[in-house]
Amino acid sequence: MPIKLPSFRPRKDAYPPDLWTKCPSCSEMLFNKQLDKADRVCPRCGHHFRLSASARLALLLDEGTFEELDAGLQSVDPLGFVDQKPYPDRIAAAQLATGMRDAAVRGVGRIDGRPVSICVMDFGFMGGSMGAVVGEKVTRAAEEALESRIPLIVVSASGGARMQEGTLALMQLVKTCAALERLRVARVPFVSVMSDPTTGGVFASYAVLGDVNLAEPNALIGFAGARVSAGTIAQELPPGFQRSEFLFAHGFIDRVVPRTELRAEIAAILRFMRPGDDGRQAESRGFFDPIGFLSSLADKVVPDLGPADGIDAAPQEAINREAANREAARNGGRKRGTARRDAEPGRG
């Protein structure tokens, strides 16, 4: 019987996994608390670790402004899919491990005070794969943006469509792309942020369709998995293939942005792209109300503007209200400025 000598040298892989992380890029051992504080970017080499959805939201949004919506959406098993484990078991295990219901979190929040509709994916939940729930959340986030006329931000981190939901997962590509088409027609901006990894059906639907596409450095972004590419076509893959910088070089990403600057970049872009409002500009949840400002300015500059000029497109009740105000104005008070402001479609 062999004698087992006690070893006093702690083996490297025996470190408690929740205390230290080894940087895969520069092999530095990083203390997790410090890594978390640095937004999970290696302080030595700048390697971007994957970020959980909650950390991502904390990173991008103004503190305390996030309001989660549709938190209760949960996957079902439409195919009765069993591989080495039944699909419901896989979901349950992923839920237990991450504390999330599915691979995406959506809601509304503010960036630099500006309201946004945001959906963030988490690779930790079944590889961030897109099933009906993820598709639904992205679509609802787009619909929210359309309805409230606020910018849409989607942060992707996903291996692609969820195989366990079969073609129903594939149909999520159409669902999301169709919702984004409506957003585009309505001139509501959509900023797509791609983090490591963004591949398959997620990249080939909403992630690639941003009005502005941003990506974190060295993130894996591509349509076919590198193994598929290499396996299907016996061909040497170019260096840096399917990395952010590769896509940037080929014109599919506007900017490669380090994580620490991401929030400022998005804020800067949103300052230029404001949701259009039938040719006029409107802030949906106004801090600054250009319509009110312009109409009061117009009142000062063109005090004698006939009422008929301003009310062509106004809703009927506003017209009535304006008529009442005109009545009041004729009676002495000068209230037309307020009336005109009311006549604008209400977006309070």
Binding site: P78, L79, F223, G225
Partner: protein
Amino acid sequence: MVDRLLGRPRDGETPQPMDPKAAVWRQVQLARNINRPRTLEFLRAIADEVVELHGDRGFGDDPAIVAGFARIEGRRIAFVGQQKGADTEENIRRNFGMPHPEGYRKSMRVMELAERFALPIVTFVDVPGAHPGPESEERGIADAIARSIGLMSRLRTPIIAIITGEGGSGGALAIAVGDVVIALENAVYSVISPEGCAAILWRTADEAPTAALAMRMSAQEQLKLGVIDRVVPEPGEGAHAEPAETARRLRAVIIEQLDHLSAIGLDELVAARYRRYRAFGPYTETTAPAVAPPPSRGLADRLRDLLDPGRWSGPTPLPGQSRRDEPPEPEEV
């Protein structure tokens, strides 16, 4: 092997009591059969006049996708479809029917023409998947597919999509968004090739038939899921054996659908198409409190672990908790 590729049942095989795995795998082989009629063959049989158009106006012409105008019994249509080769030589020229981005951009160009000139669109889908190589990625295959899907979701003209053989993932879906989606009896439709699915979930491509069954990729199962609206029966052994009769049956269905869809107002048509795809994918909504992640362990536990790394006192680390930056596992093609 040759028999299997040609879809012929082997000697002594009785077609009646077939186990479901073998049945779906036979269907996958039939859908891939090299003698199965392709887009241009179908059109030659169905249409009275065909004008093929070429080029995406940006990069080149992709022989893996054919597109153009056709006339079927006096009805003008625009068509788009993947075109596999009939033999090895043609397959090499047509890249085994696997389109590059320029193929989808050509298709989008023709579909936009169709919208402008009020031609209904008929698409023929038969593709293993979009070409997965570096050239494809460099020219933006994901971008081409996503834009094509987006375009088809809003085109103001009727769209009939027909899965004639393999409906391979995004490469198929990029031209398969329609007001009505039809499939031939032996067609298959899936989110990933059964081999790819097996390689990822079963860690071996040998389990492809199991994956094919699990994904419920046969046209009949897809009909039950609502992804396909109608299955057109194939005569005898299948479309490869009787292409003329298959085309005749397909023609009747196309004419019927063209007349049906043309009668619907464009606003209602596009709205109904949006609703069709908006409804896909079941989920439940629960109000139960969120799942609690496992509680983090105290300092004492951590110290004990540090001092005695061999004796791990905490819970077994769950896969999702792992802090290591593992290479991603592509879930889909």
